[in-house]
């Protein structure tokens, strides 16, 4: 199982090595969020973040957002692999469905990490006071992997239900913004209207942001709860996506 998951991650690394342009182009959007949204809202002090500068508050949120944006369309790759016969070939190897899905989920995580490096470097350049504790950075890696794993499994699950690229794109686009704005990525839960708080409360992205904020800039969060929620969410996502994987090739 572990070897299979590693095999899928190796492939993802190899692809990234061959074609780096995607990493750069994908880093543009989070960079704009930090530069434009972050700098502007720092200046007008519209969002109460206590003694934490807004840019510091925002950086972990943008990191989490980037994992969401990478992962939520990951299912497109599965649909493409279905159409190209790649998926059929993988399913005829002695690899359990769950190992394939987990492999894909962590492969997406590997991609997220590459982007995380870019976002963190930019944040540091903009003066965000990031942690220097290597253990906390290790925690960041784990949280980014888990968050990406969950959202990519969500995407693969939708792929297994929607069965077509266009429908997956539509659904993905429809849920991305609610997931993003219905989280604590941009603003604290405290200033949300009641109904939005409820959404934020069941939104795994909020737990990812909370954990990243705790780890990166030391805002006290609920690290154990966050990680537990992310693990459970990722496991549920893997289960759902593996159950639907065979359906794609029927």
């Amino acid at each position: 199982m572990l070897a299979r998951v590693a095999a899928m991650c190796v492939v993802e690394l190899q692809k990234m090595r061959h074609d780096r342009t995607e990493i750069y182009t994908r880093a543009i959007q989070p960079a704009l969020w930090l530069l434009i949204f972050g700098e502007t809202f720092s200046r007008i002090r519209a969002i109460p973040t206590g003694r934490v500068p807004y840019l510091d508050y925002l950086a972990p949120g943008i990191l989490a957002q980037s994992t969401l944006f990478i992962a939520i369309f990951y299912g497109i790759q599965i649909i493409w692999e279905r159409d190209a016969g790649v998926l059929a070939k993988l399913l005829v190897t002695p690899t359990p469905r769950a190992a394939l899905v987990t492999g894909k989920a962590f492969a997406a995580g590997v991609r997220s990490l590459a982007q995380a490096v870019a976002i963190m470097v930019l944040s540091a350049v903009l003066g965000v006071a990031l942690t220097v504790n290597p253990l906390r950075w290790l925690g960041v890696v784990v949280v980014v992997m888990l968050g990406t794993a969950f959202f990519s499994c969500l995407s693969m699950t939708i792929a297994g239900l929607a069965m077509s690229r266009d429908r997956l794109m539509g659904i993905g686009q429809a849920i991305t913004m609610p997931l993003f704005f219905g989280s604590n990525a941009l603003y604290p839960v405290g200033i949300m209207p009641e109904w939005l708080r409820v959404i934020s409360h069941v939104n795994p992205l909020s737990y990812e942001v909370d954990a990243l904020r705790d780890l990166l800039i030391g805002t006290p969060g609920h690290l154990l709860l966050d990680v537990a929620v992310l693990i459970v969410a990722a496991a549920a996502g893997i289960t759902a996506a593996s159950a639907l994987l065979g359906r794609l090739v029927r």
Partner: protein
């Protein structure tokens, strides 16, 4: 064909009463097959005959119900993993990953089939040269020609040293030279290892030339079965398989299929997105 109990263990594949419908469309309609160990068995038929569906039933991609499939005596429904371990599979589409090099493509399958790390490099090298891609192994597959991609996929299917190689239209969309290239490699490996080959094709001449036995498939059924010579023997001497097919089904075989177009569009997508 009726003797099930005694000879099953000498068969690579046994199918009984295989049936599969997509909605109301019956793609496979009661297929019985026995593929002996070591032979090259051809499923021959026009597009839509049900060849790919039959292959997918045998390879565990579709549930073989109703009916029964055994691969080397193992019931496919009950021993899925063991069956997959024994099979090397090449789907109808050109399915190598264009974004990876030839070697990386093969390595992935070596890993997924648990080729031990120490043997992996050697094994990968071995199959790459067996399909004549040793020199191109470090180029990305998007730079490969159709024939090279097909041979690369052959290497992917062979890296696990399968006892049964299942090829779904291995030469679709290839020019005659590339086609011969693919078949040469298949036959070489087969001679060296004694593996069984189950192949689908809609090319008469290909089946005639390379298959020990042929099942003529049409509308989800096996219409005739035997060696190319057997099938031709009922007709006047010098009859081609084309004529055999017409005699058994009353239809023409080589209607212009859309298989070629399928393959090409797959490749284009692979290049763009991969």
């Amino acid at each position: 064909m009726s003797d099930e109990s005694g000879s099953v263990d000498r068969h690579a594949v046994v199918c009984r009463g295989l049936r599969h419908a997509f909605g109301g469309n019956v793609a496979v309609d009661g297929v019985d097959l026995d593929v002996a160990e070591g032979e090259v068995f051809g499923l021959l038929g026009p597009n839509g005959a049900g060849k790919t569906t039959t292959i997918r039933l045998i390879t565990t991609l579709l549930p073989a119900k109703p009916g029964m499939v055994e691969v080397f005596g193992l019931d496919v429904a009950r021993h899925r993993m063991a069956v997959r371990r024994a099979i090397g599979y090449l789907p109808q589409q050109l399915s190598a990953d264009a974004a990876l090099t030839g070697r990386e493509n093969v390595e992935l399958f070596a890993r997924l089939f648990d080729v031990p790390r120490r043997q992996r490099r050697e094994r990968v090298e071995e199959v790459l040269s067996a399909v004549g891609l040793a020199d191109a192994a470090d180029r990305r597959a998007q730079t490969y020609s159709g024939g090279m991609i097909r041979r690369l996929e052959l290497a992917q299917a062979l890296v696990s040293a399968p006892r049964l190689l299942i090829l779904d239209e291995p030469t679709i969309g290839l020019d005659p030279v590339a086609r011969d290239g693919v078949w040469e490699r298949i036959q070489e490996v087969r001679r060296a290892t004694g593996m069984t080959v189950l192949v689908t094709t809609h090319h008469m001449d290909e089946a005639d030339q390379h298959c020990g036995r042929i099942a003529l498939m049409h509308r989800g059924r096996v219409q005739a079965l035997g060696t190319p010579a057997d099938l031709k023997s009922g007709l006047e001497p010098g009859a081609t398989l084309e004529e055999v097919f017409r005699a058994y089904t009353g239809d023409r075989l080589d209607e212009p299929g859309d298989g070629f177009r399928d393959t090409r569009s797959t490749r284009r997508t692979a290049g763009r997105l991969g």
